[in-house]
């Protein structure tokens, strides 16, 4: 046999990849052929030295793994990553909500609502005149707002072009509610 073949068989034998029969035959062959045996021993030396060198460098991996409980990692880390991801989503949603809330900020308590300002709204101006003696307070603003006509309710029955019949029906409806 050629040297390459002998070396390959030696490697296979050392790696435990030869069947029992093949191994027996190979050993018998080496016993009969001194040169082949030297080649095989040479490659076996390389194999064992390489195995020992890598093992000496990587033993720590095996030692540390034995010490570490299996259930701690990696599932715990997977779960913690999921939790962190969800927490980030919640924080982001909170931030977006807070941003929108800040942009659409409501007037502070005690401030006068814009819609009830007598200087701006003609309806409020008209009804506010009767409350001029009350003063410029929060309750004045509320009173003006309550006195102002409800435009969304008032607009429809008094639309221009509404027929007499529809005006009468609206009148009957309002009477019924009263």
């Amino acid at each position: 046999m050629e040297r390459d073949t002998i070396e390959r068989l030696a490697i296979d034998s050392a790696a435990g990849e030869l069947s029992d029969d093949a191994r027996t035959l190979f050993e018998a062959y080496l016993a009969e052929h001194r040169q082949a045996n030297e080649w095989a021993q040479d490659m076996l030396g390389v194999y064992e030295e390489t195995e020992a060198a890598i093992a000496s460098k990587t033993n720590r991996a095996r030692a540390e793994t034995r010490a570490k409980p299996a259930h701690v990692f990696p599932l715990a880390r997977v779960r913690s990553r999921l939790i962190v991801r969800w927490a980030a989503v919640v924080v982001a949603a909170f931030g977006i909500g807070a941003g929108f809330g800040r942009l659409s900020k409501q007037p502070a308590i005690g401030s006068r609502p814009r819609a009830t300002s007598a200087k701006v709204d003609p309806y409020v101006r008209q009804w506010g005149r009767s409350l001029e003696g009350v003063g410029d307070s929060f309750w004045r603003a509320k009173a003006i707002a309550s006195l102002a006509p409800k435009r969304h309710l008032a607009a429809q029955p008094h639309k221009s072009g509404a027929s007499l019949w529809s005006k009468y029906r609206q009148y009957v409806k309002e009477r019924r509610y009263e």
Binding site: G45, V46, A53, I54, T58, A61, R62, F73, P74
Partner: protein, 168 residues
């Protein structure tokens, strides 16, 4: 997560974590990086758990993922060893049972300087302890190719370290 899957996964983790870490350490030479790569590998395995088609072993499938994880690490800029000067390596050791540290370091460096395919097979064989069939499954090559790469890798190692260092 389904309990059955969790149990299977933890079982695989318990059986292979040391080997995966060792295999990753061969690439990055840092335990911190090896831990990160191993974790990345197991996360990928967990995500693709149902993609295992049943051919070969789960372990070989996992090391296929480990190979890709390692390759991605190299692509992202992981350092590959440069060729080192191995002349003057002294095999003599005072401790007959132990291995001379210089020789171990020389072989370690020499393996890293081999052709990628050869060093990969050597790492899968010696660091991860995979059989030829498992290496073939993980690397997606025939067993004959694994055998050939291992032989060529060891021959090149012998050449690098020097034939006089090994002898009958």
């Amino acid at each position: 997560m389904v309990n059955g899957l969790e149990a299977q996964f933890e079982n695989l983790w318990g059986q292979t974590s040391g080997q995966v870490r060792a295999y990753m350490f061969c690439a990055c030479r840092s335990w911190a990086d090896a831990d990160d790569l191993a974790q990345d590998c197991y996360l990928r395995a967990l995500r693709g758990w149902n993609q295992f088609n049943g051919t070969g072993s789960r372990k070989a499938w996992l090391f296929g993922i480990a190979r890709r994880t390692r390759a991605d690490w190299f692509r992202r800029g992981g350092k590959k060893a440069t060729v080192v000067e191995l002349a003057g390596v002294d095999k003599a050791s005072d401790d007959p049972k132990g291995m001379d540290e210089d020789l171990a370091e020389a072989i370690w460096q020499a393996v890293r300087c081999l052709d990628d395919k050869q060093s990969e097979v050597i790492h899968l064989r010696f660091a991860a302890g995979l059989s030829y069939a498992e290496i073939a499954d993980a690397a997606g090559v025939p067993i004959g190719t694994v055998r050939s790469r291992l032989h060529k890798g060891l021959k090149n190692l012998r050449q690098r370290i020097g034939e006089r260092e090994y002898g009958a």
